[in-house]
Amino acid sequence: MASSLVEQLKGGLDAPICLTWELTYACNLACIHCLSSSGRRDPNELSTAEAMAVIDELRDMQVFYVNIGGGEPTIRADFYELIDYAVGNGVGVKFSTNGSTINADRAARLTGTDYVDVQISIDGAVASTNDAIRGTGSYATARRAMDHLADAGFGPFKISVVITRQNIAELDAFQALADGYGAQLRLTRLRPSGRGADTWHELHPTADQQIDLYHWLQAHPQTLTGDSFFHLSALGDPLPGLNLCGAGRVVCLIDPVGEVYACPFVLHPEFRAGSVRDPGGFTSVWRTSELFRSLREPEAAGACASCGSYDACQGGCMAAKFFTGLPLDGPDPECVHGHGELALLGASASSAPRGPDHSVPVRLALKR
């Protein structure tokens, strides 16, 4: 029964199970691993009315919740209006923030809103580790937001960490920090997407660290991971979760201007399925786009076909392969059996694709 469920999920559903929505590319930080290369607001951002129309579609498709991110989503002037509208329409909201706008008043407001989860991002359990990635002062800012949420009695907010070579030794410290707040720890995988393409080689965990992480996750099954470490399941017993790439099958991403991509980690024209501004809206993109149709076809194991772990890891993460210049039917760059490292030796770093940079001003074509 389980395998037939996985097969059905690979074939795609009529509506995503969850989706990520980057509300804005504007951000007051410039994290060196930002998967959307955020910085500046795109002048063509969806309007409040357009965003509400997307929420109407999500309600009609029975998408139970949406992961809102950015950029820093709380910078949008209509941020609270949009989350209230989503929740009022049965679309729960989980949003990621660097915490810079979460003051006592906002924390109290969030505490009074049902079905809203708050994820505060930090990438180090101490300021020095965190600030090296997220910028000077960002650790103190995040902790202040956590204090406000705790003081307001928000309940179990989430502390969201991208695991890196530099912070992986702090896993127990992250857990202690979360426990101290009554918060939940959420760990996700570093992808070579956005600015992460430039820093991935220095930041991604070593092979030994990946093994430590696998055992740590096995020992802490309550840890939220967004199923992002399924490539580690090749090390033995599978990690909790579906252990499959959900891109275009059960997840997708909507960017600030309404473009729909297969997953949050592939902001690149090759994985653009359409726009919520197209006729038919998001629903039509999800159900009829050529790209999503092709992602729902049975995939070939390719270079991994002869590996005994393929059923466990499914060849790993499409985005990680794409942005390191590896073929999509080859091993994940962080393949636990080392096949990725070998493949990377043969891949030319200069030919690896890059997504758009949203930290520079958008050039508008001027009509003469």
């Binding site: 029964m1 037939s4 469920l5 059905q8 199970i17 969850c18 029975q62 139970f64 729960g92």
Partner: protein, 76 residues
């Protein structure tokens, strides 16, 4: 509050309180779950939905699991 979204494999159940997403992995199990409120006992619901008695044990196990994730609740 729990919402059920029909799917070819059965349904997706989402609990807005604990934020848990659960796969209800057969269409007839979904029917049984939907009808539980109208019946005194699980067995009443199973027979009203014409579930073959050979499958009752499996259904009981599946319903126990759904109760564990708070998709359904035992009546006190």
């Amino acid at each position: 509050m729990v919402a059920l979204r029909p799917e070819p494999f059965g349904a997706l159940a989402y609990h807005y309180g604990n934020r848990r997403l659960t796969f209800v992995r057969s269409p007839d199990l979904v029917e049984v779950v939907r009808s539980l409120g109208a019946h005194e006992t699980v067995d009443d619901a199973l027979s009203a939905n014409n579930v073959d008695e050979k499958r009752w044990r499996a259904f009981h196990r599946a319903l126990d699991a759904l109760a564990g994730s708070e998709v359904i609740r035992r009546r006190g």
